[in-house]
């Protein structure tokens, strides 16, 4: 099925790469462009903490995809500014137009700092991509006392890593940070019960009042609303993990239906013919539960990437949920798809 199509994949993560492989296999003649705003190739985000702790080398992070096809082009470090789905043009922020015939949006998610945090941004570090991991690796090794804000998936991985590295940490947990899930008080209690014996101090919902440089580290004042008490902490590093939000700014106000993510039907098609969305940037209609679901997790992304590609090529596959549906957060099982009511045994080795 040779075609004159130009398939564009927006995103170089698990969903984008699964889509790429599927397209490559089923339509080898077509021209494919993958656009990623990161400047490094496909790598495993879930393993960033292992890389920081030194358990794996930099090289082991990267998943070497075969791009040695003449008609496949990887564009790294290039940001999508907007999409015109009517004219089928992608506008890149360096002011270049790309014409596509079919598009798969697999742009993943990005950190969503709470409006409160913005004033403290200069003091807060995070681990959202390879570059940040690489930049902060050394200072994490050097530091002893950590203050960790938030409590999304990466945040808990980070805490685990700190425990394994023998570091001391205080976690200020914001139950809303765990997008797209909100931790209830029972979950918070169970997480606390699990982490505190490992030497992590947990505070819930305390607000940052001030952060100041002090002795090479930081002096942080937090306010506990319930007790109306201000507490002072000293720490070497402050890390914030304030949850993720779909990385879809470029699609806003361009006619796409967007709730939390880009709304797609069970075939992963957006409201535009020839435009598909998959992975954590998409909100997928579940015909059984009759709800648009956001999903996270590597396996979900890969599965959806493949299905989006197949449907784009003319198949009509309904998204199936990946078999692994739970993350294990300190003994608390958290579903990888929001509002999903199906009951299944959680996979204890959940990776994301």
């Amino acid at each position: 099925m040779a075609s004159n199509d130009h398939y564009v994949i927006a995103g170089n993560g698990p969903a984008g790469n699964a889509a790429l492989n599927t397209l490559r296999k089923n339509d080898p003649e077509s021209r494919i462009t993958i656009i990623s705003d990161e400047s490094v190739g496909f790598y495993s985000k879930p393993r960033l903490c292992s890389y920081i702790s030194g358990r794996i080398e930099e090289d082991e992070l990267f998943i070497h995809e075969d791009l040695s096809f003449d008609n496949t082009r990887l564009r790294l470090g290039q940001h999508i500014q907007s999409i015109d789905p009517d004219q089928k043009i992608i506008f890149l922020s360096h002011m270049e137009k790309i014409n596509y015939t079919k598009l798969i949006i697999a742009s993943g998610s990005k950190p969503s700092p709470s409006p409160y945090m913005t004033q403290f941004m200069p003091y807060l570090k995070s681990i959202t991509d390879f570059h940040e991991a690489k930049t902060h690796k050394q200072c994490i090794h050097d530091a002893q006392q950590f203050l960790v804000l938030g409590g999304d998936l990466v945040g808990f991985k980070f805490i685990d890593m700190l425990i394994s590295m023998g570091k001391a940490a205080t976690l200020i947990l914001y139950p809303q940070a765990f997008w797209p899930f909100v931790l209830d008080s029972d979950m918070v209690d169970r997480i606390t019960a699990s982490l505190e014996p490992k030497g992590i101090r947990i505070m819930v919902n305390d607000r940052i009042q001030s952060i100041q440089d002090a002795d090479g580290g930081y002096q942080v004042a937090t306010l506990n609303h319930a007790r109306n008490e201000i507490e002072e902490h000293y720490c070497d590093q402050v890390f914030a993990f304030s949850g993720m939000t779909p990385n879809i700014d470029f699609a806003c106000k361009k006619g796409f239906d967007i709730d939390h993510g880009i709304l797609v039907n069970e075939y992963l098609r957006t409201r535009f013919q020839d435009v598909y969305a998959c992975g954590s940037c998409a909100q997928i209609f579940n015909p059984i539960l009759k709800v648009y679901q956001t999903t996270i997790g590597w396996t979900n992304a890969e599965t959806q990437g493949e299905i989006a590609a197949l449907n784009l090529l003319g198949a009509n596959q309904v998204t199936r949920l990946a078999p692994q549906k739970y993350f294990d957060l300190e003994g608390v099982k958290i579903k990888t798809s929001w509002w999903d009511d199906t009951d299944e045994n959680p996979n204890p080795d959940g990776d994301f």
Partner: protein, 581 residues
């Protein structure tokens, strides 16, 4: 449609201001000044921003007031269609100019010695009753009073202002400011009768006997209801009633979990008021998506800052209660579908997708409809009767304040013509040569001035504390620099241009074009350029005023001095007076 290379020549060498009613000039002004065109009241935005730059706040206030009698109010709560249209907000031009904040700043910063200017006509001896003292009613009354008619306003509520007084929370619109701007209108000899409901306290027929004309500007005060089971339970409010209570100084009950239904300003106002009343968790739920909310981005950020959750794609199915009180609400999930009419995307419920969330307060802020039955028992008949007019939301359905004011003015002119048979004014384009643009290229790189706001604790401490602090003179000055001054018209004289391309070399945007010809609209107005990439096809080099950001660079480099700049202004001139100036 015809194609031509003929360029308009007539006045380009004039050195003093002149007036034009050429369709091409009207069309050029419309296309080139997007903010003014987007404004229902056709406010001269570049004109007043330039005055702010020159620190003539009073003059800026009067420019506003000429089109919109409540500048201080609109400077706070306008829906800002101008900012959507502002060329500074186009792709790769940055953010739109903070037009609304600047409007507020001319009201805030004008001297306490400032004098209102009114161009009053001779009294006509005619009497007009205006029913309703909302924005439309006030606009009608003011305009008619200026024209010399004796106006009386009837207001059913205790205080004037309509939705401004009762719908919009005080933390967005301070009441002393509102009342002072209303007072400025009433000073033209307008009588105001409050707590007087037409159809109840006075019959419409009686009014008809007293007045030469009657204007209904009663707005949309009839709230839409949820039309679901359980609506009568305790602690279920409709948005407007809720806001009325809050604005009347009452403290309606809000529980721990407050659910607001709606997607417009009222929904956000209710939610933000609930936060101030002590609700610990407030969420807004809407049928369509959060992205499609009918509020501006700024309002969304403020809501989120106040910890209000926004949730899309669900519609209420029934309200659940125990012992007569609300305990929860059942939603149906929705999906979006396409229609061929505005608003194009509509929500459709998904069958069997019910789910329940707990709630102890529910506010249904679904908007309002005109309450025609209240006054006009024989509504259909009345509206077509001679001497009856209507204005504002009452005519157009629930819209926004600036639309209402613009429609009030329109209605007043209709009434005036009915009463006097005179056409007083004519629209013209005033064109004035400018020797300099007086605008620095560096202004284009100033980023939008953020509005200072008070902190969350202060907001909660006092229900009525105004959240936005307004610009100080420095902020207003900086922001005023950002306006591109789209009212300046740049033209290249094709007779003098030597096609050196010096202007094209320095153009900051894709704004100067080699033109093969011009496409005209049927009206004779310019429609678009036929551009060419090839020199041998170009018959002229032309500045695209819809792309131009008025940086003035082309003017500087032109060796032939063939680029002219004219300041254009849409004006209404008196037909009767001897001269236009």
């Amino acid at each position: 449609m015809k194609s031509s290379t003929q360029f308009k020549q007539d006045h380009s060498s004039a050195s003093s201001p002149y007036f034009s009613d050429d369709v091409r000039d009207f069309s050029q002004v419309e296309k080139s000044i997007p903010c003014q065109e987007a404004c229902p009241a056709k406010t001269n935005v570049p004109g007043y921003i330039r005055d702010i730059y020159e620190e003539k706040y009073g003059r800026a206030y009067e420019i506003n007031r000429a089109c919109n009698i409540l500048p201080g109010v609109l400077g706070r709560i306008c829906s800002r269609p101008c900012e959507e249209a502002c060329r500074h907000g186009n792709d790769n031009n940055g953010d739109s100019v903070a037009i609304c904040y600047l409007k507020r700043s001319c009201a805030d910063l004008k001297s306490p010695m400032h004098r209102i200017i009114e161009g009053l006509y001779t009294p006509t001896g005619k009497k007009v009753a205006v029913i309703g003292s909302g924005p439309a009613g006030l606009a009608v009354a003011h305009e008619l009073a200026v024209m010399g008619h004796k106006v009386t306003i009837y207001e059913s509520e205790e205080k004037p202002g309509g939705m401004l007084m009762y719908g919009i929370p005080e933390f967005r619109l301070p009441r002393n400011l509102l009342l002072s701007e209303i007072e400025n209108i009433l000073r033209l000899g307008i009588d105001l009768h409050t707590s007087t409901m037409i159809g109840k306290d006075i019959n419409l027929e009686d009014l008809h006997d007293i007045y030469d004309a009657i204007v209904a500007a009663i707005g949309c005060m009839k709230p839409r209801t949820l039309e679901v089971a359980g609506e009568g339970l305790e602690n279920v409010y409709n948005g407007l009633d809720f806001m009325k209570m809050v604005n009347a100084g009452q403290t309606p009950y809000v529980g721990e979990k407050t659910v607001v239904i709606g997607a417009g300003f009222t929904a956000v106002d209710c939610a933000r008021s609930a936060v101030r009343l002590g609700a610990s968790q407030v969420d807004i739920h809407m049928r369509k998506t959060v992205e499609l909310m009918r509020i501006d981005a700024h309002e969304k950020v403020e809501a989120q800052y106040e910890h209000i959750g926004l949730h899309g794609l669900m519609q209420p199915n029934r309200i659940i209660g125990e012992n007569g009180r609300v305990t929860g609400i059942e939603f149906l999930r929705t999906r979006l579908e396409q229609t061929d009419r505005s608003p194009y995307r509509v929500s459709v419920p998904i069958e069997n997708s019910e789910f329940v969330i707990p709630a102890d307060t529910i506010i249904a802020a679904l908007g309002q409809t005109p309450d025609k039955e209240v006054i006009f028992n024989r509504a259909q008949q009345s509206l077509t009767m001679e001497g009856y007019f209507s204005a504002g939301d009452f005519v157009s359905g629930s819209s926004d304040v600036i639309h209402a004011i613009a429609d009030g003015k329109r209605c007043a002119q209709e009434v005036d013509h009915y009463l006097t048979g005179i056409v007083r004014k004519k629209k013209m384009v005033r064109i004035e040569p400018c020797s300099t643009t007086d605008r620095d290229r560096s202004f284009d790189f100033i980023s939008r001035t953020a509005m200072d706001t008070i902190g969350l604790s202060e907001r909660k401490a006092q229900l009525t504390a105004e959240v936005e602090s307004g610009f100080n003179t420095e902020q207003a000055y900086e922001e005023s620099k950002r306006c591109y001054l789209c009212n300046l018209r740049y033209e290249i004289d094709p007779q003098r241009c030597i096609y050196c391309s010096a202007c094209i070399d320095v153009m900051p945007k894709d704004c100067i074009k080699m033109v093969k010809g011009i496409v005209f609209e049927d009206s004779g107005a310019y429609q678009s350029y036929e551009t060419s990439q090839y020199w041998n096809q170009a018959t002229a080099i032309s500045i695209d005023n819809s792309k131009c950001i008025r940086c003035g660079k082309c003017l500087e480099v032109c060796p032939m001095d063939c680029i002219s700049v004219h300041k254009t202004e849409l004006v209404e001139v008196d037909l009767a007076s001897e001269s236009f100036e």
